[in-house]
Symmetry: C2
Subunit: 274 residues, 2 copies
């Protein structure tokens, strides 16, 4: 659950990305949905360089779940030397609200600061996050249940297998937003314009067909209440590479904690197609 | 220039992709624009495995010029073992009408069959080609000068630098189609729906701003006549990786000959967004 109002809630004044990152760098820990509306949010996955090709190939073969928006140079974690278009200033090791550290596929830590675990041979991948298209959904009057209920978005590991690449393989992870029947088509239309942050839903209704037995028990994030008559709508989720890490067991991997994203300096509008 | 009519011209009966590949495998050599309308055409670039990450990263950083539609497994060149969605049957080494072979960045051969040059450590990248969106342009009544004039599309090496990746760097290469003033907007609208085959134009008019001194002297392909009052419209071109090979000088690279593409089994419609 999200801590008490920190100035980040939809009712509070929005923070620009640099200010939001500074708050997280200072230790604030909370999900980032609804924070800095208008700026893209991204998943982080840092892997040893020897796995970098496999990861990029996995992303190429699974573009709905792994839309890569940026790749830092091996060892690069901040804006020193090269200011990355996604991160005009800041440090990947400190500027997310929470991280997950995996060793041999096992989650060994969930720190607020990943500096102690970082290595110079890591290559950081920044993968689009569906929080990005929540702003245009809200602008179109489409309700976002987890924002209204003040919780993290629910995410589920599905029975769908991703296309493998090299040593990387694993299931598709999805995020879920329940929607009223008369707004699902609009949500498809709007989100399909943002393929860089997962695009259109992969599945509408029928959670059992994804192998999801109980919507009230998400594998990541928090459950949301689903109003009567609303349908669960599923988008491919950038936690997918973490599920792949758990199954493929690379020696070291550092990611964001689900729902606790990097807020970038890239305006949403630049991701809109066509 | 294109050889005499082979049954491939727009006036002839269209061939399905497998039949077209069989003709090329048997030795026919001609540009592929207008052949097998409705099916995606792709650029080929095969590089040694040690450069595969750099290439995929180059593509991620230069998505307009290098939209990767598929990557074969290291050493894989045909449908044995794994039928690739882009190539239900066939062989990358023989099924294109013409190839270019580069050693240390120098063009050393332009064979009809690349088998003698292929190596087991090559990774083949298939990159979307703008010939793919010519079918929907023609359907919308937009003229394609190089098809009407029976020549290969003109391509130009520009003064624009691509974002480098690892050891790979080079200029942007563009293809050019002249268009009447009242159809440019439609061409932008239609091609923007196909980001997987270069999408919207990168530049409309003003060739000098791209560093192109003389439209009548393309760096690849053939010149086209530009009717009075028509404007040159430039799209990012999948020959860009070849320009990068010439500058970055990998030990070995095998590509299609410009304009002589792989005709895939992927229907154009599957590349359309949103």
């Amino acid at each position: 659950m999200i801590p008490p109002d920190t100035g980040f809630t939809p009712g509070g004044a929005p923070l620009n990305p640099a200010a939001a990152r500074a708050r997280f760098r200072a230790g604030l820990r909370r999900p980032t949905s609804g924070i800095s509306p208008g700026f893209a949010q991204v998943n982080l996955l840092a892997l040893p360089r020897e796995l970098a090709f496999d990861m990029l190939l996995f992303a190429q073969r699974n573009p709905k779940s792994c839309p890569v928006l940026g790749v830092f140079e091996p060892g690069q974690h901040d804006d020193a030397g090269i200011a990355h278009p996604l991160l005009a200033e800041g440090d990947l090791r400190t500027d997310l609200p929470a991280y997950r550290v995996y060793r041999d596929g096992e989650l060994i830590a969930e720190p607020d600061d990943a500096t102690a675990h970082w290595r110079e041979d890591l290559v950081a991948f920044l993968i689009g996050c569906s929080f990005t298209f929540e702003a245009p959904l809200l602008e179109a009057g489409i309700p976002i249940a987890h924002i209204e209920q003040g919780v993290n978005v629910p995410m589920y590991t599905t029975a769908i297998r991703c296309a493998p690449a090299g040593r990387l393989r694993g299931p598709l992870v999805v995020s879920m937003r329940p929607l009223p029947a008369d707004q699902i088509a609009d949500a498809v239309r709007i989100t399909s314009r943002y393929p860089g942050v997962h695009g259109a839903p992969v599945h509408i209704g029928s959670p059992a067909a994804l192998g999801i037995d109980d919507l009230a028990s998400p594998d990541f994030g928090d459950p949301v209440e689903i109003p009567a008559g609303w349908t669960p709508v599923f988008w491919a989720c950038g936690v997918t590479p973490q599920a792949e890490v758990m199954e493929s067991k690379p020696e070291l991997a550092i990611s964001h904690a689900p729902g606790h994203m990097l807020i970038t300096d890239l305006p949403d509008a630049q991701l809109q197609v066509p």
